[in-house]
Protein backbone atom coordinates (compact mmCIF):
# COMPACT_ATOMS: atom_id res chain seq x y z
CA UNK A 1 0.00 0.00 0.00
CA UNK A 2 1.41 3.43 -0.87
CA UNK A 3 2.44 5.51 2.13
CA UNK A 4 -0.22 8.15 1.45
CA UNK A 5 -3.00 5.57 1.69
CA UNK A 6 -1.51 4.14 4.84
CA UNK A 7 -1.39 7.63 6.30
CA UNK A 8 -5.01 8.29 5.36
CA UNK A 9 -6.02 5.04 7.03
CA UNK A 10 -4.06 5.90 10.16
CA UNK A 11 -5.63 9.35 10.34
CA UNK A 12 -9.12 7.98 9.68
CA UNK A 13 -8.62 5.60 12.61
CA UNK A 14 -7.68 8.37 15.06
CA UNK A 15 -9.89 11.14 13.66
CA UNK A 16 -12.96 10.50 15.87
CA UNK A 17 -10.98 11.37 19.02
CA UNK A 18 -9.35 14.46 17.52
CA UNK A 19 -10.55 18.00 16.90
CA UNK A 20 -8.30 18.50 13.91
CA UNK A 21 -5.47 16.80 12.04
CA UNK A 22 -2.91 18.96 10.29
CA UNK A 23 -1.33 17.61 7.12
CA UNK A 24 -0.28 18.76 3.68
CA UNK A 25 -2.51 19.19 0.64
CA UNK A 26 -2.35 20.51 -2.91
CA UNK A 27 -1.18 24.08 -3.12
CA UNK A 28 -1.89 26.87 -5.58
CA UNK A 29 0.32 25.33 -8.24
CA UNK A 30 2.01 22.05 -9.13
CA UNK A 31 5.12 22.84 -7.07
CA UNK A 32 3.52 23.75 -3.78
CA UNK A 33 1.89 21.87 -1.01
CA UNK A 34 -0.09 23.80 1.54
CA UNK A 35 -1.13 22.90 5.09
CA UNK A 36 -4.61 21.36 5.29
CA UNK A 37 -6.69 21.08 8.40
CA UNK A 38 -8.69 17.88 8.47
CA UNK A 39 -11.81 17.75 10.58
CA UNK A 40 -13.87 15.09 8.81
CA UNK A 41 -13.36 11.92 6.78
CA UNK A 42 -14.27 13.81 3.60
CA UNK A 43 -11.22 16.05 4.04
CA UNK A 44 -8.90 13.05 3.84
CA UNK A 45 -8.92 13.23 0.03
CA UNK A 46 -7.12 16.54 0.24
CA UNK A 47 -4.03 14.92 1.77
CA UNK A 48 -0.77 14.91 -0.14
CA UNK A 49 2.67 13.67 0.83
CA UNK A 50 6.01 13.93 -0.88
CA UNK A 51 9.06 16.07 -1.54
CA UNK A 52 6.86 19.16 -1.72
CA UNK A 53 5.56 18.73 1.83
CA UNK A 54 7.97 21.35 3.05
CA UNK A 55 6.22 23.28 5.83
CA UNK A 56 6.87 22.31 9.41
CA UNK A 57 3.35 21.75 10.66
CA UNK A 58 4.46 21.64 14.29
CA UNK A 59 4.32 25.44 14.06
CA UNK A 60 0.53 25.24 14.29
CA UNK A 61 0.44 23.21 17.49
CA UNK A 62 0.97 26.20 19.74
CA UNK A 63 -1.63 28.20 17.82
CA UNK A 64 -4.39 26.16 19.43
CA UNK A 65 -5.47 26.12 23.07
CA UNK A 66 -3.69 23.36 24.98
CA UNK A 67 -6.99 21.60 25.59
CA UNK A 68 -7.70 20.95 21.89
CA UNK A 69 -6.90 17.45 20.66
CA UNK A 70 -4.70 17.83 17.62
CA UNK A 71 -3.13 15.40 15.20
CA UNK A 72 -0.11 16.45 13.23
CA UNK A 73 1.79 14.83 10.36
CA UNK A 74 5.53 15.23 10.77
CA UNK A 75 8.74 14.64 8.89
CA UNK A 76 11.80 13.61 10.88
CA UNK A 77 12.96 17.20 11.39
CA UNK A 78 9.46 18.37 12.30
CA UNK A 79 9.14 15.65 14.91
CA UNK A 80 12.09 17.20 16.72
CA UNK A 81 10.15 20.44 16.99
CA UNK A 82 7.28 18.53 18.58
CA UNK A 83 9.67 16.94 21.06
CA UNK A 84 11.13 20.33 21.90
CA UNK A 85 7.66 21.78 22.45
CA UNK A 86 6.89 18.87 24.78
CA UNK A 87 10.13 19.43 26.66
CA UNK A 88 9.18 23.01 27.30
CA UNK A 89 5.62 22.01 28.22
CA UNK A 90 4.21 24.23 25.50
CA UNK A 91 1.93 21.43 24.37
CA UNK A 92 0.18 18.62 26.22
CA UNK A 93 1.37 15.13 25.44
CA UNK A 94 -2.15 13.66 25.91
CA UNK A 95 -3.67 16.15 23.50
CA UNK A 96 -1.30 15.65 20.59
CA UNK A 97 -1.21 12.69 18.22
CA UNK A 98 1.86 12.54 16.04
CA UNK A 99 1.73 10.83 12.64
CA UNK A 100 5.23 9.98 11.44
CA UNK A 101 6.47 8.62 8.15
CA UNK A 102 9.86 7.91 6.59
CA UNK A 103 10.80 11.20 4.92
CA UNK A 104 13.09 10.99 1.91
CA UNK A 105 13.65 14.72 1.99
CA UNK A 106 12.01 17.84 0.60
CA UNK A 107 12.91 19.99 -2.37
CA UNK A 108 14.27 23.49 -2.10
CA UNK A 109 12.17 25.52 -4.52
CA UNK A 110 14.97 28.07 -4.89
CA UNK A 111 17.13 25.29 -6.28
CA UNK A 112 14.34 24.16 -8.61
CA UNK A 113 13.99 27.73 -9.82
CA UNK A 114 17.68 28.06 -10.57
CA UNK A 115 17.88 24.65 -12.25
CA UNK A 116 14.91 25.50 -14.45
CA UNK A 117 16.35 28.86 -15.39
CA UNK A 118 19.47 27.00 -16.48
CA UNK A 119 17.29 25.13 -18.97
CA UNK A 120 15.49 28.26 -20.10
CA UNK A 121 12.27 27.39 -18.25
CA UNK A 122 10.25 29.43 -15.79
CA UNK A 123 9.21 28.03 -12.42
CA UNK A 124 5.94 29.96 -12.48
CA UNK A 125 4.82 28.12 -15.60
CA UNK A 126 5.31 24.59 -14.30
CA UNK A 127 1.97 22.83 -14.76
CA UNK A 128 2.90 19.35 -13.62
CA UNK A 129 5.55 17.88 -11.39
CA UNK A 130 6.28 14.25 -10.71
CA UNK A 131 8.97 12.88 -8.45
CA UNK A 132 10.19 9.41 -9.18
CA UNK A 133 13.28 7.97 -7.59
CA UNK A 134 16.35 9.89 -8.66
CA UNK A 135 14.68 12.24 -11.09
CA UNK A 136 11.99 14.88 -11.10
CA UNK A 137 9.93 15.57 -14.23
CA UNK A 138 8.49 19.03 -14.71
CA UNK A 139 6.13 20.11 -17.47
CA UNK A 140 5.93 23.69 -18.66
CA UNK A 141 3.82 24.70 -21.63
CA UNK A 142 3.42 21.10 -22.81
CA UNK A 143 7.20 20.59 -22.78
CA UNK A 144 8.61 18.15 -20.23
CA UNK A 145 12.01 18.58 -18.64
CA UNK A 146 13.79 16.33 -16.21
CA UNK A 147 16.08 17.27 -13.34
CA UNK A 148 18.20 15.05 -11.08
CA UNK A 149 16.78 15.03 -7.55
CA UNK A 150 20.28 15.15 -6.08
CA UNK A 151 20.48 18.82 -7.10
CA UNK A 152 17.13 19.73 -5.62
CA UNK A 153 17.09 18.45 -2.04
CA UNK A 154 17.06 21.17 0.59
CA UNK A 155 20.42 21.59 2.34
CA UNK A 156 18.98 20.31 5.60
CA UNK A 157 17.99 17.04 3.90
CA UNK A 158 21.52 16.40 2.66
CA UNK A 159 22.76 16.40 6.23
CA UNK A 160 19.63 14.84 7.78
CA UNK A 161 20.12 12.45 10.66
CA UNK A 162 16.46 11.91 11.43
CA UNK A 163 14.57 10.79 8.32
CA UNK A 164 12.18 8.82 10.50
CA UNK A 165 10.26 10.73 13.12
CA UNK A 166 12.10 10.62 16.47
CA UNK A 167 8.73 10.36 18.18
CA UNK A 168 5.36 9.24 16.82
CA UNK A 169 2.10 7.72 17.92
CA UNK A 170 1.33 6.32 14.50
CA UNK A 171 4.13 5.48 12.11
CA UNK A 172 3.30 4.55 8.52
CA UNK A 173 5.64 2.98 5.96
CA UNK A 174 9.03 1.33 6.37
CA UNK A 175 11.65 3.09 8.47
CA UNK A 176 14.58 4.33 6.41
CA UNK A 177 17.21 4.08 9.14
CA UNK A 178 19.45 6.37 7.16
CA UNK A 179 21.78 8.84 8.81
CA UNK A 180 23.99 11.47 7.20
CA UNK A 181 26.95 13.09 8.91
CA UNK A 182 26.61 16.64 10.16
CA UNK A 183 29.88 18.11 11.37
CA UNK A 184 28.74 21.73 10.92
CA UNK A 185 31.11 22.14 7.98
CA UNK A 186 29.14 25.10 6.66
CA UNK A 187 29.56 27.01 9.92
CA UNK A 188 33.27 26.19 10.04
CA UNK A 189 33.74 27.30 6.42
CA UNK A 190 32.01 30.60 7.14
CA UNK A 191 34.09 31.19 10.23
CA UNK A 192 37.29 30.57 8.30
CA UNK A 193 36.71 33.90 6.54
CA UNK A 194 38.25 37.06 8.01
CA UNK A 195 36.14 38.84 10.65
CA UNK A 196 35.59 41.94 8.53
CA UNK A 197 34.36 39.81 5.67
CA UNK A 198 31.85 38.05 7.92
CA UNK A 199 30.51 41.36 9.10
CA UNK A 200 30.34 42.67 5.55
CA UNK A 201 28.48 39.51 4.55
CA UNK A 202 25.73 40.08 7.11
CA UNK A 203 25.59 43.74 6.33
CA UNK A 204 25.01 42.96 2.68
CA UNK A 205 22.49 40.19 3.39
CA UNK A 206 20.57 42.11 6.02
CA UNK A 207 20.29 45.17 3.82
CA UNK A 208 17.69 43.17 1.87
CA UNK A 209 15.60 42.39 4.97
CA UNK A 210 12.13 43.94 4.88
CA UNK A 211 11.32 43.17 8.51
CA UNK A 212 8.27 41.12 7.64
CA UNK A 213 9.02 38.72 10.53
CA UNK A 214 8.06 35.76 8.35
CA UNK A 215 11.08 33.95 9.80
CA UNK A 216 9.67 34.38 13.27
CA UNK A 217 6.14 33.42 12.37
CA UNK A 218 7.22 30.26 10.58
CA UNK A 219 9.40 29.16 13.48
CA UNK A 220 7.74 26.40 15.52
CA UNK A 221 9.64 27.48 18.64
CA UNK A 222 8.95 31.21 18.45
CA UNK A 223 6.05 31.11 20.86
CA UNK A 224 6.02 34.59 22.43
CA UNK A 225 3.71 35.83 19.68
CA UNK A 226 2.14 39.09 20.82
CA UNK A 227 4.76 39.46 23.54
CA UNK A 228 7.70 39.37 21.09
CA UNK A 229 10.28 41.82 22.36
CA UNK A 230 10.98 42.91 18.80
CA UNK A 231 7.63 44.67 18.78
CA UNK A 232 7.45 46.13 22.24
CA UNK A 233 8.03 49.82 22.80
CA UNK A 234 9.00 49.30 26.41
CA UNK A 235 11.73 48.12 26.39
CA UNK A 236 12.50 49.28 22.90
CA UNK A 237 14.94 46.60 21.76
CA UNK A 238 14.37 47.24 18.09
CA UNK A 239 13.29 50.69 17.00
CA UNK A 240 11.16 51.61 14.00
CA UNK A 241 14.19 52.80 12.10
CA UNK A 242 14.99 50.82 8.97
CA UNK A 243 18.75 50.62 9.41
CA UNK A 244 20.69 47.42 8.99
CA UNK A 245 21.49 47.50 12.75
CA UNK A 246 17.82 47.15 13.67
CA UNK A 247 17.26 44.35 11.21
CA UNK A 248 20.31 42.49 12.38
CA UNK A 249 19.41 43.08 16.01
CA UNK A 250 16.19 41.20 15.37
CA UNK A 251 18.08 38.25 13.93
CA UNK A 252 20.34 38.22 16.97
CA UNK A 253 17.27 38.19 19.23
CA UNK A 254 15.83 35.33 17.20
CA UNK A 255 19.09 33.36 17.34
CA UNK A 256 19.64 34.00 21.06
CA UNK A 257 16.14 32.97 21.98
CA UNK A 258 16.61 29.73 20.08
CA UNK A 259 20.00 28.85 21.51
CA UNK A 260 19.80 25.25 22.67
CA UNK A 261 16.23 24.97 21.40
CA UNK A 262 16.45 25.28 17.61
CA UNK A 263 15.78 21.98 15.85
CA UNK A 264 17.12 23.22 12.50
CA UNK A 265 13.96 22.61 10.50
CA UNK A 266 15.02 25.57 8.37
CA UNK A 267 11.58 27.16 8.29
CA UNK A 268 13.01 30.62 9.02
CA UNK A 269 15.16 30.49 5.95
CA UNK A 270 12.49 28.96 3.75
CA UNK A 271 9.92 31.57 4.76
CA UNK A 272 12.31 34.45 4.08
CA UNK A 273 11.01 36.24 0.99
CA UNK A 274 14.43 37.69 0.18
CA UNK A 275 16.51 34.59 0.80
CA UNK A 276 18.71 35.60 3.75
CA UNK A 277 20.64 32.55 5.07
CA UNK A 278 19.62 33.06 8.71
CA UNK A 279 19.76 29.38 9.61
CA UNK A 280 23.52 29.84 9.74
CA UNK A 281 23.23 31.93 12.92
CA UNK A 282 21.15 29.25 14.57
CA UNK A 283 23.42 26.46 13.43
CA UNK A 284 26.33 28.34 14.91
CA UNK A 285 24.61 28.36 18.28
CA UNK A 286 23.68 24.70 17.93
CA UNK A 287 27.26 23.81 17.13
CA UNK A 288 28.38 25.49 20.34
CA UNK A 289 25.62 23.85 22.38
CA UNK A 290 26.71 20.48 21.04
CA UNK A 291 30.34 21.18 21.89
CA UNK A 292 29.68 22.65 25.31
CA UNK A 293 26.84 20.51 26.57
CA UNK A 294 26.77 17.45 24.26
CA UNK A 295 23.19 18.30 23.55
CA UNK A 296 20.96 18.31 20.50
CA UNK A 297 17.55 19.93 20.77
CA UNK A 298 14.41 17.90 20.22
CA UNK A 299 15.61 14.35 20.70
CA UNK A 300 14.48 13.38 24.18
CA UNK A 301 11.15 14.69 25.52
CA UNK A 302 12.39 14.22 29.09
CA UNK A 303 15.68 16.14 28.68
CA UNK A 304 16.16 19.66 29.98
CA UNK A 305 17.35 22.39 27.59
CA UNK A 306 20.95 23.19 28.59
CA UNK A 307 20.36 26.90 29.01
CA UNK A 308 17.61 26.24 31.53
CA UNK A 309 20.00 24.23 33.67
CA UNK A 310 23.54 24.37 35.05
CA UNK A 311 26.25 22.31 36.66
CA UNK A 312 28.22 23.62 39.60
CA UNK A 313 31.40 22.55 37.87
CA UNK A 314 31.12 23.01 34.13
CA UNK A 315 33.39 20.58 32.35
CA UNK A 316 33.85 22.52 29.15
CA UNK A 317 33.65 26.17 30.14
CA UNK A 318 37.01 27.73 30.71
CA UNK A 319 35.76 30.66 32.73
CA UNK A 320 39.06 31.83 34.14
CA UNK A 321 40.86 31.50 30.85
CA UNK A 322 41.68 35.08 30.01
Amino acid sequence: MPILDELKAAIAKRLPELDVVIGWGKGFDALHHTPVFITSEADLDKLELGPLSVQNLATYLTRYPKTKKIGVVVKGCDSRSVVQLLQEKLINRENVVVFGFPCEGVVDLEKVKRALEGQGMEIARVSEATFQGERCTLTTGGKAGSLPMADLWADKCNRCQYHDAVMSDEFVGQRLDRKAEDAYADVAAFEAKPLAERQAFWQEQMSRCIRCYACRNACPLCVCRDQCIAQTREPNWVSQRTGVEEKFMFQMIHASHLAGRCTECGECERACPVGIPILLLKRKNNKEVLELFDYRAGIDPEAKPPLLAFKVEEEKINERGW
Binding site: A196, R198, E245, K284, L307, I317, W322
Partner: protein, 150 residues
Protein backbone atom coordinates in the same frame (compact mmCIF):
# COMPACT_ATOMS: atom_id res chain seq x y z
CA UNK B 1 47.51 54.53 26.83
CA UNK B 2 46.07 55.96 23.61
CA UNK B 3 42.74 57.73 23.20
CA UNK B 4 40.03 56.50 25.52
CA UNK B 5 37.69 53.83 24.17
CA UNK B 6 34.21 52.99 25.30
CA UNK B 7 33.89 49.91 27.46
CA UNK B 8 30.70 48.95 29.24
CA UNK B 9 30.87 46.90 32.41
CA UNK B 10 27.85 45.02 33.71
CA UNK B 11 28.52 44.43 37.40
CA UNK B 12 26.61 42.46 39.94
CA UNK B 13 25.50 44.54 42.89
CA UNK B 14 26.69 42.11 45.57
CA UNK B 15 30.26 41.26 44.62
CA UNK B 16 31.85 42.97 41.66
CA UNK B 17 30.28 46.38 42.23
CA UNK B 18 31.53 46.16 45.79
CA UNK B 19 34.90 44.98 44.48
CA UNK B 20 35.13 48.01 42.22
CA UNK B 21 34.23 50.17 45.21
CA UNK B 22 36.91 48.50 47.31
CA UNK B 23 39.41 49.22 44.55
CA UNK B 24 38.35 52.86 44.62
CA UNK B 25 38.56 53.13 48.40
CA UNK B 26 41.97 51.43 48.25
CA UNK B 27 43.06 54.03 45.66
CA UNK B 28 44.12 51.45 43.14
CA UNK B 29 44.57 53.39 39.92
CA UNK B 30 42.73 52.06 36.91
CA UNK B 31 42.08 53.11 33.31
CA UNK B 32 38.99 55.27 32.83
CA UNK B 33 37.50 53.66 29.73
CA UNK B 34 35.03 51.53 31.66
CA UNK B 35 31.46 52.73 32.32
CA UNK B 36 29.71 50.65 34.92
CA UNK B 37 26.11 49.49 34.84
CA UNK B 38 25.03 48.05 38.17
CA UNK B 39 22.75 45.04 38.12
CA UNK B 40 21.10 43.01 40.88
CA UNK B 41 22.84 39.79 39.80
CA UNK B 42 24.91 38.48 36.92
CA UNK B 43 21.94 36.20 36.31
CA UNK B 44 20.01 39.32 35.33
CA UNK B 45 22.22 39.75 32.30
CA UNK B 46 20.36 38.99 29.14
CA UNK B 47 22.83 37.91 26.43
CA UNK B 48 21.13 40.55 24.32
CA UNK B 49 22.59 43.28 26.59
CA UNK B 50 25.98 42.23 25.30
CA UNK B 51 24.96 42.01 21.65
CA UNK B 52 23.05 45.29 21.73
CA UNK B 53 25.91 47.09 23.44
CA UNK B 54 28.49 45.84 20.98
CA UNK B 55 26.43 46.54 17.88
CA UNK B 56 25.38 49.83 19.42
CA UNK B 57 28.93 51.13 19.30
CA UNK B 58 30.72 50.07 22.48
CA UNK B 59 34.24 48.84 21.86
CA UNK B 60 34.13 46.25 24.60
CA UNK B 61 31.82 44.65 27.16
CA UNK B 62 32.88 43.28 30.51
CA UNK B 63 30.59 41.27 32.73
CA UNK B 64 31.57 40.58 36.30
CA UNK B 65 29.69 38.76 39.03
CA UNK B 66 30.21 36.81 42.21
CA UNK B 67 32.44 33.77 42.07
CA UNK B 68 30.50 30.60 41.30
CA UNK B 69 29.15 29.13 44.57
CA UNK B 70 29.18 32.64 46.10
CA UNK B 71 26.10 34.04 44.40
CA UNK B 72 23.86 36.15 46.64
CA UNK B 73 20.90 34.36 45.08
CA UNK B 74 22.60 30.95 45.23
CA UNK B 75 22.52 30.10 41.54
CA UNK B 76 22.22 33.26 39.43
CA UNK B 77 25.76 33.15 38.20
CA UNK B 78 25.56 29.46 37.31
CA UNK B 79 22.89 30.23 34.73
CA UNK B 80 24.77 33.35 33.68
CA UNK B 81 27.93 31.35 33.06
CA UNK B 82 26.26 29.15 30.45
CA UNK B 83 24.56 32.06 28.72
CA UNK B 84 27.63 34.26 28.72
CA UNK B 85 29.79 31.49 27.32
CA UNK B 86 27.22 31.06 24.54
CA UNK B 87 27.30 34.77 23.61
CA UNK B 88 31.06 34.80 23.62
CA UNK B 89 31.10 31.90 21.20
CA UNK B 90 28.37 33.47 19.08
CA UNK B 91 30.28 36.69 18.40
CA UNK B 92 32.67 35.37 15.71
CA UNK B 93 29.85 34.37 13.40
CA UNK B 94 28.51 37.93 13.25
CA UNK B 95 31.97 39.31 12.62
CA UNK B 96 32.82 40.65 16.09
CA UNK B 97 36.08 39.67 17.72
CA UNK B 98 35.21 37.50 20.75
CA UNK B 99 37.99 39.30 22.65
CA UNK B 100 35.71 42.34 22.86
CA UNK B 101 33.60 40.51 25.41
CA UNK B 102 34.81 38.88 28.61
CA UNK B 103 33.14 37.72 31.75
CA UNK B 104 34.81 37.18 35.06
CA UNK B 105 34.20 36.88 38.78
CA UNK B 106 35.35 39.42 41.36
CA UNK B 107 34.24 39.41 44.99
CA UNK B 108 33.61 42.51 47.10
CA UNK B 109 36.88 42.16 48.94
CA UNK B 110 39.02 41.75 45.83
CA UNK B 111 39.91 45.37 45.10
CA UNK B 112 43.29 44.30 43.86
CA UNK B 113 41.82 41.73 41.53
CA UNK B 114 39.37 44.31 40.18
CA UNK B 115 42.28 46.53 39.26
CA UNK B 116 43.97 43.65 37.42
CA UNK B 117 40.76 42.77 35.58
CA UNK B 118 40.05 46.33 34.45
CA UNK B 119 43.63 46.94 33.38
CA UNK B 120 43.87 43.63 31.54
CA UNK B 121 40.58 44.07 29.75
CA UNK B 122 41.20 47.69 28.80
CA UNK B 123 44.56 46.74 27.35
CA UNK B 124 42.93 43.95 25.41
CA UNK B 125 40.35 46.32 23.93
CA UNK B 126 43.02 48.89 23.07
CA UNK B 127 44.96 46.17 21.28
CA UNK B 128 41.85 45.45 19.20
CA UNK B 129 41.20 49.13 18.57
CA UNK B 130 37.86 50.88 18.01
CA UNK B 131 35.03 48.63 16.87
CA UNK B 132 33.79 48.65 13.30
CA UNK B 133 30.19 49.61 13.74
CA UNK B 134 27.69 47.33 12.16
CA UNK B 135 25.62 49.03 9.53
CA UNK B 136 28.11 51.83 9.08
CA UNK B 137 30.16 52.16 5.94
CA UNK B 138 33.63 50.77 6.58
CA UNK B 139 35.49 53.34 4.49
CA UNK B 140 33.64 56.25 6.07
CA UNK B 141 34.41 54.99 9.57
CA UNK B 142 38.07 54.57 8.74
CA UNK B 143 38.25 58.11 7.38
CA UNK B 144 36.47 59.43 10.44
CA UNK B 145 38.88 57.63 12.73
CA UNK B 146 41.88 58.89 10.82
CA UNK B 147 40.52 62.43 11.11
CA UNK B 148 39.90 62.13 14.85
CA UNK B 149 43.45 60.89 15.42
CA UNK B 150 45.02 63.61 13.29
Amino acid sequence: MSKELRIIGFLCNWCSYGGADTAGVGRFTQPTDLRIVRLPCSGRIDPLFVLKTLTGGADGVLVSGCHPRDCHYSEGNFYARRRLEMVKRFLPVIGIDPGRFEYTWVSASEGQRWQTVVRGFTEQIHALGPIQRFGKDAAATAAQLAASHA
